[in-house]
Symmetry: C2
DNA sequence: CGTAAATGAACGAACGTTCGTTTTTATTAT
DNA sequence: ATAATAAAAACGAACGTTCGTTCATTTACG
């Protein structure tokens, strides 16, 4: 097993974080009590405070630890593609799949916005943005295949697609005809690409 | 004044709803207590229950009453534009401005997602979608200026832009260079339009 | 005058957190 | 290996608050 050589304290801390993570996603932050977290983590409520100073601190740790931006950056950096067009398409698809594997993260972001007014996010964003922008600039510059739009705005438009996608996904399935839900992501990507690529026809 | 001929009860009910609306936006739903709502509305806490059955019922009323979709539909329906391209651009701009005037609504949606798992939304969506789709279809059909993308997906991509925009707006200003925040909405619209319009150059 | 509205104390439940105590763990000396 | 020991972790009752809601009563409007 992977966590064989962890101390008791480290293992408990992880169990608490994991339990809280699950419960926050299932019920929301306010609706989840410390007693529930303790029960699912398998210890008494008082014991939590040997590992976290407060409920807020647990959420902060979750935001920090569960954020998938490292995997995403690695993924996008390693994506194949001969032409720029191919590369962008593949990168977008890879990102869609990775974020599709982590819809939980979107919900965590919503909780962060609603309950904390993004107070934990500022630091994280400052860490991420400088890493993402050069990536976009790199594929933007070589032969001018992209329209000269500021990378940060491209990033925002891109993220907006996913936000929209997952928000709709959260709402009941009957809102959207099922036959088009399958490949709607492809079309999303397509709209976005047409939006930022210089006309090619 | 507009609410001159309202009964006492109707006026109080409006005051409660307005107070709760402000407080939910400022502090979130869970963080807002009935006592706070009562104080801002100018009555005792018990009096609220003469007009609303529960805290949940207040939020439900807000979602229903403050939803700007009626204004938006009217706005888009009345938008000018000789060519289809012009019309779309104007409609998008008008919508941007209207939603820009109502960032509160986005936050209400987040609260709805986080605290209620969109349980109030299903009914509202069923009311809205059938009204919006024909509108998109109407501008999509006349001369095939738009790529043949399902209207519902176009709608989602469009909404995603705004979600992204306002999420970033909520996060501290220093995340985004200020010189580009002013016209970033224009560029958003532009990306979207290029994404759905048949190549025109 | 009758009824709708407003009052605010009271209720019971649940919350996050604290704390004195006990148990378990890791480390050291035997 | 075993026993001693200090530190870390777990316990769970208790604390003080605050919550949403109720209700008997008073006030004020139509």
């Amino acid at each position: 097993m992977a966590e064989e050589n962890l101390s008791k304290g480290e293992r408990t801390r992880m169990a608490i974080e994991e339990a809280a993570y699950e419960l926050f996603l299932e019920q929301g932050y306010s609706a989840t009590s410390m007693r529930q977290v303790a029960e699912r983590a398998g210890l008494a409520v008082g014991g939590i405070y040997n590992h976290f100073a407060s409920k807020d601190a647990i959420f902060e740790a979750i935001i920090h630890d569960k954020h998938p931006y490292k995997q995403i950056l690695a993924l996008v950096s390693a994506v194949p593609g001969e032409t720029v067009d191919e590369f962008i398409h593949n990168a977008a698809q890879a990102l869609v799949e990775e974020l599709g594997r982590r819809p939980d993260f979107l919900k965590l972001m919503f909780i962060e916005i609603v309950e904390f007014n993004t107070k934990h996010m500022a630091g994280l964003m400052e860490e991420i943005i400088p890493q993402v922008l050069p990536l976009i600039q790199r594929i933007q510059s070589p032969d001018g295949a992209l329209r000269p739009i500021h990378p940060a705005i491209i990033l925002r438009a891109f993220l907006g697609m996913f936000f929209s996608y997952f928000i709709m996904e959260m709402m009941a399935g009957q809102v959207m005809p099922p036959e088009m839900r399958e490949d709607s992501l492809d079309i999303f990507v397509d709209i976005f690409l047409h939006g930022i690529i210089k006309s090619e026809l």
